[in-house]
């Protein structure tokens, strides 16, 4: 498939999404949203939990570690079917207090402490960088797949350059989408509807590839079950520590991820929608995961040994000469990456402008608080933050080399945002929780995360020296970043 066709179809798709968002915004202004504020749209918008990590990375994860990829969806399933415990309170508090972001929630639960708001914002922005890099990497990889397989030979300009173009395009798109106007409740009806459309596209794409693999290549359900047991993941090892830990981690992440908070709490139009989503969202994740194992198994069986399992969703249809199906899969992957980046950037930009830029601005120019309209300042701050967030994502991609497995990158982000959980749960359920306690907990969690996961992820001698990674600081083995307090056994 020629490169131009690929780029053109991406552009056409983005323009289509943009017009969806535009039309919805217009209807919203006329007050005629109707079914666009239905539980179905709410549930579909929650599916930005399933990013390129799910679309491409889950197959790679399954090919490498068997069924362990399921934990990433089981955690949120537990949280959602148990919505009566936590999510219900979260959404209610969010609506009553007009909470605009997770930083706003944590700061307002501790007496509107802006210190906490700033800490959470900074942590969220840094924790999001690997996740955004993951999306960039997946789009670059998927372009690369088409480049190498095409007979009419286009060579990919260069992975680095593609990543820059993708990041720039997404930044532009997000700015156009998310900062057209200011809403006191920080709701973006247009974006939410566009995401719901993307959710449908990625589900259909993944199901189409899965159905093709099971009934087209493996000979039906019995055929695929036999092949699963004959494949390399047949003797997969379930490591209890990792299994339970990942279950808990993904459950924590689904509440704490800034973009999940945005769609789940901030964009929520009606508390009743949560009841529907409590089973419909787990059902969506189940459908997304249904064909992951078959695709991984058949990919391992039929594709050459060196093929990147993260790209099986694309390379399997291509190797069978199904260009149309591969194109659909490509758009599905593109949808999953773009929807995540758009909402994440909007959520982070809201936090940066509300908790860092505006307070700083008012401190510097006290007069502005009395007179001028802050609208321009806020919008420009958001545009700049969106650009900065994507630039940091690109930076992470650049420095980490873009070679790691997708799932491994995503988990780093998960652990980063999971540090919010104690402060958030404490703030909601514990009257004795204090501001200082929350701040100390967040900062300590952040430092341990940075030392043990984030900084080592750049590789030896990038930020932390190879010697420190191997022997620990001052030769203290029990302080080695990747085996902190002797935790070696449970990693990897």
């Amino acid at each position: 498939m020629p490169f131009n066709v690929l780029v053109l179809s991406c552009l056409a798709y983005v323009i289509f999404l943009f017009s969806v968002a535009f039309l919805v915004e217009r209807r919203a202004r006329l007050g005629k949203l109707g079914w666009l504020r239905s539980p179905a749209v709410y549930t579909l918008s929650l599916s930005i939990y399933c990013t390129a990590w799910t679309f491409y990375g889950a197959v790679g994860y399954a090919a490498r570690s068997g069924l362990e990829f399921l934990t990433i969806y089981f955690g949120p399933t537990l949280v959602f079917i148990g919505w009566w415990w936590v999510l219900r309170k979260l959404v209610r508090i969010g609506r009553q207090h007009r909470v605009t972001s997770i930083a706003d929630l944590i700061s307002s639960r501790f007496g509107k402490s802006n210190l906490l708001g700033v800490i959470v914002t900074v942590m969220a922005v840094i924790a999001a960088t690997p996740y955004i890099a993951l999306q960039l990497q997946s789009v670059v990889l998927s372009f690369g797949v088409f480049a190498s397989s095409s007979t009419d030979g286009f060579t990919l300009p260069d992975a680095e350059q593609t990543a820059i173009w993708v990041a720039g395009g997404l930044a532009l798109f997000t700015i156009l989408f998310g900062t057209r106007n200011l809403d006191a409740k920080e709701q973006h009806h247009g974006v939410v509807t566009a995401i719901a459309v993307e959710a449908v596209v990625k589900l259909i794409a993944l199901l189409a590839v899965g159905i093709f693999v099971v009934w087209g290549l493996a000979g039906g359900v019995t055929g695929i079950l036999e092949r699963i047991d004959a494949s390399r993941i047949a003797g997969w090892e379930m490591r209890p520590g990792r299994w339970t830990g990942l279950l808990f981690l993904s459950g924590a992440a689904v509440i704490c991820l800034p973009r999940m908070f945005q769609v789940m709490v901030v964009e929520n139009a009606d508390e009743g929608h949560l009841a529907r989503a409590s089973w419909a969202f787990p059902a969506y994740m189940m459908l997304m995961s249904l064909f992951i194992v078959p695709i991984a198994v058949i990919g391992l069986e039929q594709l050459p040994a060196g093929a990147n399992p993260d790209m099986f969703v694309l390379t399997l249809p291509l190797s069978e000469g199904r260009g149309g199906l591969a194109m659909l899969a490509f758009l599905g992957g593109f949808s999953s990456a773009t929807s995540m980046v758009i909402v994440e950037a909007i959520a982070l930009a809201t936090m940066v402008s509300n908790h860092i830029v505006v307070p700083a601005w008012l401190q510097l120019r006290p007069a502005a608080a009395m007179s001028a309209d802050l609208r321009g300042v806020v919008l420009n701050a958001r545009r700049a933050s969106i650009g900065a967030v994507l630039a940091m994502g690109y930076g992470y991609y650049h420095f980490s080399g873009g070679s790691e497995a997708l799932a491994a990158i995503g988990l780093i982000s998960f652990v980063g945002v999971a540090q919010f959980l104690p402060a958030m749960i404490g703030g909601i359920f514990w009257r004795g929780a204090t501001r200082i306690g929350a701040a100390v907990g967040l900062v300590v969690g952040f430092l341990v995360w940075a030392y043990a996961l984030f900084l080592p992820s750049f590789g030896p001698d990038a930020v932390l020296s190879a010697r420190l990674l191997a022997e620990g600081p001052l030769g203290l083995g029990w302080l080695r970043p990747q085996a902190l307090f002797g935790s070696r056994r449970w990693t990897r």
Partner: protein
């Protein structure tokens, strides 16, 4: 500490609503048990698992959880605004 008194006997409909809430609270606990249970099936390090069996088990459990949650959801959200027995 004294707990605020709650009526011991209730009319049928608030009674059912309360039981439904209790069931909804217990559902994730049972679900977690079912999802962690396979850890006990084979000792770690011994590759004796039948992967296709694991796949079938997990997806059946998943479907079951979705169905049970779907059965609970309407009753829970309908009774949410009922004033009679707010909060645990």
């Amino acid at each position: 500490m004294k707990r605020p008194k709650r009526p011991m006997f209730l009319a049928p409909s608030p009674y059912r609503r309360r039981r439904l809430r209790d069931a909804a609270r217990l559902l994730p606990v049972f679900a977690a048990f079912l999802l962690i249970l396979p850890e006990l099936w084979s000792p770690p390090g011994q590759a004796l698992r039948v992967t296709s069996g694991d796949v079938i088990y997990f997806f059946l459990v998943w479907c079951g959880l979705v169905l049970v949650a779907a059965a609970f959801a309407p009753g829970l959200s309908a009774g949410e605004s009922a004033p009679d027995d707010e909060e645990d």
